[in-house]
């Protein structure tokens, strides 16, 4: 038998107190709709950076129970375009100090990410991104198959697979964190600052006066508001529909899964867009994997099983040793995707309603960065420079930040 | 795979001019299929002429074309009928696949096209677009069930039925001739994959004694 306490099995102790369960007050300076990572981070930075604490965070279910509880916790900043790289790199820098900032053990582990290339075009795209990252001051390297195998020996870099690994980009500072603890850490600090976190409080409508929203109607009564900050991810369209505001957002299921606890085999994070799989091994030892986005619109927090099967096929191709690992649990979140795979942040047609949405599969890694920049935007009533490129009007001008190549959906 | 593919191929030199001859796209896999023991047998179908017929289903065009060809065209979705030296498969509301073992491909296209033209229809030669396999034996449907999601029970897919669907990751056209006799048509570029997958499945279902 092995040692009684296996390495990595010990989890940190949580603080004894996290948040109050207050009744909503009749009015707040800022009402944040959505008690997920982004909403809680926005609340924290409103208090910490701007001294704004007469704030409510409204959550329709349990705190951070949406995508924050359902993502695969990847953190990286190796994006192609300057605008994306800037916000994600700002976020990564905040991640690097977040444990101290929050006083909470969020298990942030910078273990690096490999983005595999399987075709000649993958290689070109990879080099392009690595070079762009370097010029933007983001750590990035292009690695050949042998170097990939050195960093992650379990990746099959042989020629005898359907789409052989031609190499990978590598960002050493990329990592993972424990999603729940991040949310709880932000919530605890926000609560300490006097911000009211109100669960089981669904926003049902808005009372409008001219170009302003005066009151947020909720399942727990009306709440008057100074500014409304929407951080509702997949449900943003539902909220904006109530205000008659249309966006290019589409909500899709995105599935993920975990294995049982395993002895350490996978020291880094591996992503492969070509075969739609990404995988890391979390602190307790489970393999955490994400799949591609399910094809159709859906709010059901569940996806189709063939997506998982395809993902498992890709995983076993790339990691032959995974064959007898077990799928223990699968689930789905609701991701809100935009035509250019970049977020929508900033003003709406309503003067006091600000939106932060459309993060697609990138929301978790952006959490501190967007919390910081969105809080600044809310506090000053103008877009922070980091979010300015992500305004809704870019779809009118055509100035997209196209992170997935071909922009635009079918007519 | 290389060995199978390279069989029958030589890098010809100028001294050996070739007369153009039909080559079965799966020639390189014929020996593998013949070596399979047990049932169902998987055999290569002969190459036949085929056209994709597009014509308005209403207004009597299918009936007129069928009469001229000396057969019938299927009226129901996903069904097939016999033609004098081939079959007619209903692929879609205004789409049929008509085959002929006797006519040359371009003559077959010309003939059906001429019949369809007065009705605003048209025919396009797709003889070499697909290749056919025959699965024959009581376990034919079971073998397909390892790659096809459609309901292959004889009650749902009896003689006279056809279906465009997926076998694994490849699009195929299945045709039911009898409970133990099915044909599978697949685009030639995918045919190697389909045969390899069928063979892999068949081998796993017919354990060879140690």
């Amino acid at each position: 038998m092995n040692s009684p306490v296996p390495p990595g099995a010990a989890l940190p102790d949580h603080p004894d107190f996290l948040w109050r369960t207050p009744e909503p007050k009749p009015s707040y300076d800022v009402v944040i709709v959505g008690g997920g990572g982004h909403g809680l981070a926005t609340a924290h930075y409103l208090a910490q950076n701007h001294g704004i604490t007469n704030v409510a965070v409204l959550e329709r279910g349990w705190l951070a129970g949406g995508n924050m509880a359902r993502n695969t916790t990847l953190i990286r900043s190796n994006y192609l375009w300057d605008e994306s790289a800037a916000i994600y790199e700002h976020s990564l820098k905040l991640w690097e100090g977040l444990e101290d900032d929050l006083g909470y053990p969020i298990l942030f582990s910078q273990r690096g990410v490999l983005n595999l290339a399987h075709t000649e075009q993958d290689v070109r795209d990879s080099v392009r991104r690595v070079e762009a990252n370097r010029l933007n001051g983001i750590d990035a390297e292009w690695l050949g198959p042998d170097e990939v195998a050195k960093i992650c020996p379990i990746v099959n870099v042989s020629d005898d697979i359907r789409y052989p690994v031609q190499g990978a980009t590598y960002q050493p500072r990329a990592g993972i964190a424990k999603h729940d603890y991040v949310a709880w850490g932000f919530a605890r600090r926000a609560d300490e600052a006097g911000i009211d976190i109100i669960q089981d409080c669904e926003v049902t409508d808005f009372v409008v006066d001219g170009d302003r929203v005066t009151t947020v109607r909720t399942s727990r009564g009306d709440i008057a508001c100074g500014t409304v900050a929407l951080c509702a991810a997949g449900h943003t369209s539902v909220l904006l529909d109530r205000l008659g505001v249309r966006t290019p957002l589409q909500s899709h299921p995105l599935q993920a899964l975990v294995s049982e606890l395993l002895e350490p085999v996978h020291p880094t994070i591996v992503m492969s867009n070509a075969v739609h799989v990404y995988v890391s091994q979390a602190h307790k030892g489970e393999l955490v994997m994400g799949a591609g986005v399910d094809g159709y619109n859906g709010y059901g927090q569940r996806g189709a099983f063939h997506v998982i099967e395809r993902q498992m096929a890709a995983a076993v191709e790339l990691f032959p040793v995974f064959a007898r690992a077990h799928l223990l649990r699968s689930w789905a979140g609701i991701v809100d995707v935009t035509p250019d795979a970049s977020p929508i942040v900033g003003h709406t047609p309503y003067a006091n309603v600000l939106v932060n949405a459309g993060w697609g599969t990138g929301g978790f890694k952006a959490t501190p960065g967007i919390g910081w920049a969105f809080a600044d935007t809310v506090a000053h009533g103008r877009p922070h420079p980091l979010v300015a490129p992500f305004a809704l009007d870019r779809f009118v001008t055509g100035a997209l930040v196209d992170e997935h190549g071909a922009a635009g959906v079918a007519h | 795979m290389t060995a199978e593919l390279s069989s029958g191929v030589e890098l010809r030199s100028a001294s050996s001019p070739v007369v153009l001859t039909r080559r079965h796209p799966l020639e390189g896999r014929r020996a593998t299929l013949e070596a399979l023991t047990g049932e169902p047998s998987i055999t290569l179908e002969p190459l036949v002429s085929a056209v994709d017929l597009r014509v308005d289903p209403d207004g009597g065009a299918p009936e007129a074309i069928a009469a001229a060809l000396g057969g019938t065209l299927p009226r129901s979705p996903d069904t097939w009928t016999e033609l004098p030296d081939g079959v007619a498969l209903r692929l879609g509301p205004d789409e049929w696949l008509l085959t002929s073992a006797a006519a040359d491909p371009h003559r077959w296209e010309d003939r059906v096209d001429a019949l369809a033209a007065p009705h605003g229809g048209m025919a396009v030669d797709v003889s070499a677009q697909r290749v056919g396999l025959r699965l024959h034996g009581p376990a034919a449907r079971d073998l397909l069930a390892f790659g096809c999601s459609i309901d292959l029970r004889p009650t749902a897919f009896g003689r006279g039925r056809c279906a465009q669907t997926l076998f694994g990751q490849a699009a195929v056209l299945l045709v039911a001739h009898a409970e133990d006799d099915l044909r599978l048509h697949v685009r030639t570029s995918f045919a190697g994959y389909v045969v390899d997958r069928l063979v892999d499945t068949a081998r796993s279902l017919r354990p060879t004694p140690a």
Binding site: V5, W62, E131, M312, L327 | D151, S189
Partner: protein, 918 residues
């Protein structure tokens, strides 16, 4: 040995040998690893993950939270429950300390998927499932019956009576009837693990390691008209101090071990229950030779059971409870009642009632509701296509189960007395030693901390404490955690609910889900009609979409660079031949064919004359280029469109989409002829000689056969189409023939070109040659953000057409920005460096050194090659305002160097176009 004669369905005539933790043991066919070890008195299997406490078997089957093992032989498999591992000869296993180990080598076992259709799928072959399956079979329906255990019967132990017969006889009779019925498939050792929309259920059949090439596990993908969930129920423990000690076991588990495996799990037994069902366990174990004492937490004990207990000398105490245990690796005493009286025992059986196994009902959104009488969450509400029967529905008494599952056709069983169930989550004691989830070492104290921290949702509590996240996914601990949390919050348990059940019901190996989609079968390998020739000629292939395309044909000793230089020189100097059959081809027919193409291409196609060829570009609605290719007008009402290799299906889909959903009035039909026609490019100054030699009856002179025209001919009676199309700037012909004759025609062309040294060339050479002429590759020199104007192709954008797809977007402000990235060439000024494709481009600083980041980027290198014709490397690039920068020198960071390169126009070879006509 704790094996009891006369019990169990094991084959005692045969003995198997296995090893656990390095010690050899024996077992019998029918044994699980758990039963075999318990038979040998091995009760501690491993240690717990956080606290290192001993762990043993607590449940009978997949609900067991304690007995995890690692398989080492015949092949390493992590984290299996000993209760679910069938012993085979030579099995090597060991206990685990919370983490499993993966093999270091690939698993060569096969796994497959099989699609199944049926009218009725019954999940569970216990009494409810057997009756339900029999009823459906008798009605003539197609039935699939799956059950996760190796043998049918479910929780029937053999002591029951059905239709007046001993239960085993009845089970055998039903199984025989099902086997004889047509259209019934009955699979044991098959776990229905996931239920999705429209009657779709996934069931994993475990088929053994096997040595005959068959699948080790088979994933049945079942589409059922109706799903009958008869999955039974799982017994619930009661929490008390040190309840995690080996020897503490669910009452049902001890009973199951006895009746299935002939194993008496203890000799001195205490049964602690608030539910009648544990009395059966008490009596069975007593009859098998144990001394047994029942402690009933309820003040009122069931009179019938009590009477039978008295007959067998089993004392029953009412209104008492177990507060804790004593022992080290195994329980040696229960601490009973407020006085914590020591009651010696080597087995402490617990029953807090039962939780219906409604997972498959829940997977498809079926709601569960608290039933205070049942003291459990049970299915509530109707679902289309899904029925829950028997214990899974909260119906426990056998007679009721049979009636519920069988309707009019139901067998009968004697009535049972039922005493009201007690609701008891935990007894009084030290919360820090009261384990709720022994798989995660999570205690009542952990829940109390979570609640104290402000948590009120069971989802939060689960995440804070990790309860229910282990291999068993909380089968025994989930509802318990809800109950304890509710108690601590002072709220009714129904207001908390449970955490969500999600697939899979039990863990499933990754490889079983991958099935046959591995290796070459992971994704189809598409090949052309001439593929075998390329293989024989030693081609190196590249993946383009699913296609294998010959990338180059190295001569012995050549690397790719050398081979490509040679192939390029051959095409520019004499003649080369390339297999272009992977290009997508679409036959566009009908009176409105030209109208459709005018809508979809940026340029005019309707004006193309029959016999001529035109190059065209397609854009999306956003104005960005997404494909290009040549269009041949075959007849007034017929065009042949070619697409790029990787985009062929997408372009056909795109055209069909417009045609069917937007312009259905157009009289046009589209037919894919990609595989119908093979296309060979014969390119180079001697191509006319080669083509003329093969097609003697065609006048291939420039006057008779002009550039961008096509002609039909025949060869040996086979129709062949020739076209003067060039993607290299050289005199070139495209030769098309049906795929059947392609191998021979290729050979014929190669033979005819021998005297000119005809050289087969691959995609890499093609890429170099086209780049020298500035022709873009869509998807390489474009990335979905590039307009035709950016590519310098304004000439291909019609100004006459009122509209075409993408046109409106060209008028957006961003499309006319002079700083848009435009396609240009780059010549490294050192004339020796081949710029890596993908490299970024920056302004060249005066000192020639890269400044510190951030450095503004001007664009990137899209294509880069060594050119035989130019005798130097060159590149194509997208550069901001590039066409206005021609002549400027920019910098390209390559490793630690900053390489200078001069921007130029895109056409580097033969800008006058003199070579095209030979």
């Amino acid at each position: 040995m704790s094996r009891v004669d006369g019990y169990g369905r094991i084959d005692r005539t045969r003995t198997l040998a296995f090893t656990f933790d390095g010690v050899g043991y024996t077992a019998h066919p029918g044994d699980t690893l758990a039963s075999a070890l318990l038979a040998h008195g091995v009760t501690t299997l491993g240690t717990s993950i956080r606290l290192g406490r001993p762990r043993g078997v607590m449940g009978a089957w997949t609900e067991d939270p304690g007995g995890l093992v690692q398989i080492e032989e015949p092949f390493p498999e992590p984290m299996l429950l000993a209760t679910t591992v069938d012993v085979v000869d030579g099995l090597v296993a060991r206990g685990v300390a919370g983490q499993g180990r993966l093999a270091e080598v690939a698993d060569t076992a096969r796994y497959d998927h099989r699609h199944v259709h049926c009218d009725v799928l019954v999940v569970g072959a216990g009494p409810a499932g057997l009756v339900a399956a029999r009823t459906a079979a008798r009605a003539g329906l197609d039935v699939v019956l799956v059950d996760d255990r190796p043998t049918p019967g479910g929780t029937l132990t053999g002591t029951e009576t059905v239709d007046g017969r001993p239960a085993p006889e009845w089970v055998d009779a039903v199984v025989a009837e099902l086997a004889a019925a047509p259209h019934v498939t009955h699979l044991q050792a098959t776990t229905a693990f996931g239920h999705y929309d429209d009657g779709f259920v996934l069931a994993l059949e475990r088929r053994g390691e096997g040595s005959d090439g068959g699948a080790r596990a088979r994933d049945h993908r079942i589409r059922a008209g109706r799903v009958v969930v008869a999955a039974g129920a799982i017994e619930r423990p009661i929490v008390f101090e040190d309840d995690d000690r080996p020897g503490v076991m669910l009452a049902s588990a001890a009973r199951d071990l006895l009746h299935r495996h002939g194993v008496l799990a203890g000799r001195e037994v205490v049964v602690f229950t608030v539910d009648d069902s544990a009395y059966a366990a008490a009596l069975d174990l007593r009859q098998a030779g144990a001394s047994v004492r029942v402690l009933d937490g309820r003040s009122e004990v069931p009179p019938g059971w009590t009477r039978r207990c008295a007959e067998l000398d089993v004392p029953v105490e009412a209104g008492t409870d177990v507060r804790g245990t004593l022992g080290s690796d195994r329980v040696r005493a229960a601490l009973v009642g407020e006085s914590r009286r020591e009651v010696p025992c080597d087995l402490l059986l617990v029953s807090g009632g039962w939780n219906p196994t409604a997972h498959l009902f829940s997977h498809v959104g079926g709601p569960l509701r608290w039933d205070p009488e049942l003291v459990a969450f049970r299915p509530a509400g109707e679902l289309p296509r899904t029925t829950v029967v028997g214990a899974a529905n909260g119906t426990y008494a056998l007679a009721d189960v049979l009636r519920e599952a069988g309707g009019e056709d139901a067998p009968t069983a004697p009535p049972e007395e039922i005493t009201p169930r007690g609701m008891l989550w935990r007894t009084a004691g030290d919360p820090a030693r009261q384990f709720v989830d022994i798989a995660r070492d999570a205690t009542v104290a952990d829940i109390a901390r979570a609640v104290g921290a402000g948590m009120t949702s069971v989802e939060h509590v689960k995440r804070y404490t990790t309860i229910g996240t282990a291999h068993d996914q909380g089968k025994t601990s989930g509802v318990l955690a809800s109950g304890v949390t509710a108690e601590l919050l002072g709220r009714p348990v129904e207001s908390l609910g449970t955490t969500t059940f999600r697939p899979p019901f039990t863990p499933v190996p990754f490889a079983a889900l991958a099935g046959r989609d591995r290796g070459d079968l992971f994704d189809p390998v598409r090949t052309t009609a001439v593929h075998a020739w390329h293989v024989a000629a030693g081609a190196v292939f590249e993946d383009v979409g699913q296609w294998k395309r010959a990338r180059h044909y190295p001569a012995p000793g050549e690397d790719m660079a050398a081979a490509v230089l040679r192939e390029c020189a051959a095409v520019r100097g004499s003649v080369g031949i390339m297999d272009g059959s992977t290009l997508g081809k679409i036959d566009v027919r009908g009176p409105d064919a030209g109208v459709l193409l005018d809508h979809l291409y940026t340029n005019l196609m309707s004006t193309l004359k029959v016999g001529r060829v035109r190059y065209g570009v397609m854009c999306g609605n956003d104005g960005m280029v997404f494909d290009d290719g040549t269009v041949l007008r075959l007849a007034e009402d017929r065009f042949l469109v070619t697409t790029t290799t990787g985009n062929a299906a997408h372009v056909l889909d795109w055209m069909e989409e417009w045609l069917q959903t937007e312009w259905p009035h157009l009289r046009v039909r589209l037919t894919s002829v990609t595989e119908q026609w093979s296309i060979f490019a014969v390119a180079g100054p001697r191509s006319r000689d080669v083509v003329g030699r093969v097609f003697g009856d065609v006048d291939v002179s420039n006057d008779a056969f002009g550039f961008m025209t096509w002609q039909d001919t025949t060869l040996d009676g086979v129709p062949v189409r020739l076209a003067r199309i060039s993607f290299s700037g050289e005199l070139a012909f495209e030769v098309s023939v049906d795929a059947w004759h392609a191998p021979d025609l290729w050979a014929r062309l190669v033979a005819a070109g021998a005297e000119d040294g005809i050289t087969p060339y691959g995609t890499e050479t093609m890429h170099v040659l086209r780049a020298e002429k500035g022709y873009p590759i869509i998807g390489q020199d474009t990335d979905g953000t590039v307009t035709p104007h950016d590519l310098g192709m304004s000439w291909a954008v019609s100004k006459k057409k009122p509209d075409f797809v993408g046109k409106r977007s060209f008028a957006r402000p961003v499309a006319t920005d002079p700083q848009r990235k435009q396609l240009v060439s780059l010549l490294p000024t050192d004339a020796t460096t081949t710029l890596p494709e993908g490299s970024q481009i920056v302004a060249l600083p005066d000192d020639g050194r890269l400044p510190p980041p951030p450095v503004p980027m001007l664009g990137h290198v899209t294509s880069s090659y060594r050119s035989a014709a130019l005798g130097r490397p060159f590149a194509l690039a997208l550069v901001a305002g590039g066409r206005d920068r021609v002549g400027e020198v920019v910098g390209i960071p390559v490793g630690d160097m900053l390489i200078a390169a001069q921007i130029g126009g895109t056409v580097l070879v033969d800008p006058e176009g003199a070579r095209r006509d030979g």
